[in-house]
C-alpha cells in the first residue's frame, strides 16, 4: 500500500491492567487535550482508548510510529522506553487488517462482544470533532464499520450468549418467548443472580420478586430491580405465580424439592417453570428436571452452554477472518486508485492542453470562421483526445490489483506521456526523480 498508514497500540494480550491504566488516553482524545498532534510526519490521526486497549492510528508520510510513541509517552508523562515493550506496530495493509479485526470484535477479550464497535464509533466521532481525520481515515473508519456489520450479518460470531447469566436468560426466552407476560423470583442475592435479573429486566420481564433470608437485603435488591421483596418462608406460596426462579442462596440443603413442585404445577395448570440454580451446593433438587413442563439448569449446565457457544463463536471467527481479508484487499485497491488519480488527471490535462494548442493553430490558418465551425472543431478535437486517452487510462486502472503492478504502470504511463518533463501543468511529486 503506497499510503503510509500506521497503527500503534497495546491491548489486554500485550499489557497487564496496570500498564493499560498508566498509558490510557481516555482523557486525551478531545479538542482540549489531543495526544497525537497532526504535525511532522502525521497528517491524520485517531485514538481508541478503552479498558482493554489503547490504539493510535495515523496516516501521513515518514516515521510516524516513532513520533506517535513519543507523543503518547509524553502525554502519559512516562519515558518512551517504559511503553515500548508492550506495544505492537502495524503498517499499511496490516494496520488496516488489525483495525477491521478490532471493529469486528475478533480481537476482543470476549470474542464477538458488541461494545467495541460503539467505542470505535465514539473514538472516530471525537477525532472528527477535533478535525484530525481526513480523506484516508474517514474512508478507513467507515469501511471498518461496514466490515463489522458484514461480519455480524454473515457469520454467527456474536449470535450466542457467552456469559452464564445471559445464557440463562436466552434459555428462558427459548421456553417462554415473550418476557413481558412472565414473572421471575430471585432466591438469595448472589452476584450472578443479580446479573441474570438485570438481563431479565432488559428483556422486559413483568415483575421480579426477591426472597432473601435477610429481608432488609431483599428489600434493597427489590428496589434495585423495581420489584417486590417477600419473606423467605413464603417462597412456596409464591411459586404458583412465578415462571422463572433464579436460586443462589448459601443453603447447604435444597430449598426447593420435586415433591413441592408437583402440587405447584397442579395449581398452575401445568404452566411451564424454569429453574436456574446458580448456587453451590445446589438449591434445587435435580429431580425437578424430570417433571413435565419444568426445566432446570444448574451452574455446570450453564457453563457447558457458554463453552459450546464460545466454541461456535471461534468456528465462526474463521469465516469472519476471511471477510476481513477480502475487505482489506478492497481498501488497498481504493488507496492504490488514489495514487493513480494525479497521473490520470495529468494525462487528461495534457490532452486538453494539446487539443487547445492545435485548435488555436488550425483556426489561425483557416482565417475567419463562423461560431458553429469553431464549436464543431473544438468538440472534435476534445472528443479525439478523450478517445485516445481512454485505453491508456483503463490500462492504468487495471493495475490496482497489486502494489507492484500499480507502481510500474504509473511509472510507465508517466514516461510514455512525458508527464514529468515540466511541460505539463501538474505532476505528482511522489513519482518525480
Amino acid at each position: 500500500m503506497n499510503c503510509d498508514l500506521v497503527l500503534v497500540g497495546l491491548n489486554h494480550r500485550t499489557a497487564g491492567v496496570d500498564v493499560r491504566e498508566r498509558f490510557a488516553l481516555v482523557n486525551h482524545c478531545s479538542a482540549d487535550s489531543w495526544a497525537v498532534p497532526c504535525e511532522g510526519a502525521i497528517s491524520e490521526a485517531m485514538i481508541l482508548s478503552t479498558c482493554n486497549r489503547v490504539e493510535l492510528l495515523a496516516a501521513g508520510h515518514g516515521d510516524m510510529a516513532e513520533q506517535m510513541l513519543t507523543d503518547w509517552a509524553h502525554t502519559c508523562k512516562a519515558p518512551v522506553e517504559d511503553l515500548r515493550p508492550y506495544v505492537y506496530i502495524y503498517k499499511g495493509a496490516e494496520a488496516v487488517r488489525h483495525l477491521f479485526t478490532v471493529a469486528s470484535s475478533l480481537d476482543s477479550m470476549v470474542l464477538g462482544e458488541p461494545q467495541i464497535l460503539g467505542q470505535l464509533k465514539t473514538a472516530y466521532r471525537k477525532a472528527a470533532a477535533c478535525h484530525t481525520t481526513g480523506l484516508i481515515l474517514n474512508r478507513l473508519l467507515h469501511k471498518a464499520f461496514s466490515v463489522a456489520k458484514r461480519v455480524r450479518t454473515e457469520t454467527a460470531v456474536a449470535s450466542s450468549a457467552v456469559s452464564i447469566s445471559y445464557a440463562a436468560v436466552e434459555l428462558a426466552k427459548r421456553i417462554f418467548g415473550d418476557m413481558p407476560s412472565h414473572r421471575a423470583m430471585l432466591l438469595g442475592a448472589g452476584e450472578m443472580a443479580e446479573l441474570a435479573a438485570t438481563h431479565l429486566l432488559q428483556a422486559g420481564i413483568a415483575e421480579i420478586l426477591v426472597a432473601n433470608r435477610t429481608l432488609a437485603r431483599g428489600q434493597e435488591l427489590a428496589r434495585q430491580f423495581n420489584g417486590r421483596a417477600i419473606a423467605f418462608e413464603s417462597i412456596a406460596a409464591h411459586l404458583v405465580d412465578v415462571d422463572i426462579i433464579i436460586a443462589s442462596t448459601g443453603s447447604p440443603e435444597p430449598v426447593i424439592r420435586a415433591r413441592d413442585i408437583r402440587s405447584v404445577l397442579k395449581a398452575r395448570k401445568n404452566r411451564p417453570m424454569f429453574f436456574i440454580d446458580i448456587a453451590v451446593p445446589r438449591d434445587i433438587d435435580p429431580d425437578v428436571n424430570g417433571l413435565d413442563n419444568v426445566y432446570l439448569y444448574d451452574i455446570d449446565d450453564l457453563k457447558e452452554v457458554v463453552e459450546e457457544n464460545l466454541a461456535s463463536r471461534r468456528d465462526e471467527a474463521q469465516k469472519a477472518a476471511e471477510i476481513v481479508n477480502e475487505e482489506v484487499g478492497h481498501f488497498e485497491q481504493w488507496v492504490q486508485g488514489l495514487d493513480m488519480q494525479p497521473t490520470i488527471v495529468d494525462i487528461i490535462q495534457r490532452g486538453e492542453h494539446m487539443a487547445e494548442e492545435e485548435l488555436a493553430r488550425t483556426l489561425k490558418r483557416l482565417g475567419p470562421v463562423s461560431d458553429e465551425v469553431r464549436e464543431a472543431l473544438d468538440v472534435m478535437a476534445k472528443a479525439l483526445v478523450r478517445k485516445m486517452n481512454h485505453d491508456p487510462i483503463i490500462f492504468l486502472k487495471e493495475g490496482t490489483g497489486s502494489h507492484e503492478g500499480s507502481a510500474s504502470r504509473i511509472s510507465l504511463m508517466r514516461r510514455i506521456f512525458n508527464l514529468d518533463s515540466g511541460t505539463c501543468s501538474r505532476a505528482t511529486p511522489r513519482e518525480k526523480g
Binding site: 417462554f176 418467548g177 413435565d292 413442563n293 439448569y297 459450546e308 457457544n309 461456535s312
Partner: protein
Amino acid sequence: MISPELSTLLTLCLYGAASLAGISGMMLRSVVLRKTGCWLAGFGFLVQTLMLALGFHSTLPEGLSLGAYLQMLAWFVLLCGLISRLRYRQEATLILSAPLALILFIMSAPYLAAVVKIPPQLSAPFYTLHIGALFLSLGLLTLAFAAGCIFLFLEGRIKNKQAMKGFWQDMPALSLLDRINAFAVMTTFPLYTLGIVAGLVWAKPVFGATFNGDPKEVISLVVWLLLAALFHNRLTRGWRGRKPARLAVIIFGLCLFSIIVVNTFMETHHAFIRG
C-alpha cells in the same frame, strides 16, 4: 392459456421451490431464504385456490379420486400454515406445511385418474358438510402435528441440555408451539365432531344404518375418541407441553393411515378405487 395440467404443474413447482427455499433457509439460518419460502408457499396456495375456483378439480364433486382428495388436503394444510403465520407471526409452521403439501401433491399424481363416480344420493348437503368439516379439521390437525413435532424435538434438547446450534436457534419458543398446538386441537375437535356427525346422519338413508362397522368408520371413531380425550384434558386438566404434543402426533399418524391405507387398500364404502 391456463389449463388444469399447467396450473397443477405450477402449483407443484411453487410448493417444491417453497420447500427448498424454506428448509434451506432454516438449515442455513438465512432470513432471506426463509421469507422467500413463505412467499412461494403463499403463491402456490393462490395458484391452487385459482385451480379450485376455476373447477380444475374435475373429479369433484361429480366423482372422487384419492388424487383429488390428497390435493384438497394439501390446500387445507397450506391454509392452516398461513393461518399460523398470520396469527402467531411464525414462519416455521408455514415452512413445514410446504413440504407436507408437496408430498401430498406428489402422492396424488398416480391416483388422479382413478375416479369413483358418486351416486346422486351421495351429493346431499350432509355429504358436503361431512367432507368440508373433515378436510378443515385434517388441515388443522396437520398444524397441530407440525407444532407438536417441533415442540417434542426442541423440548427434548432443552431438557437434556443439548446445544442449540444451527437452525435450532431460529425455532419458536416452547410456549408459542404449545399455543399453536392448543389452537389447532381446540378448533379441530368441534370440526371433526361436526364432520363425523354429518357422516353418521347421512349414512342412515344411504347405507341403511348409522354405524356399519366399516374400517373407515372404526378408525374415525378411534381418532374422535383420542381427539375428545385431548380436548377434554387440555380444557379441564390443564394439559400442556409434551403430553398433548405427543398425542397430536399420534392422532395425525392415525389419520394418515386412515387416508392412505384404509381408503385405498381396504374393503370400505369410503374406498377411492373400485373394481
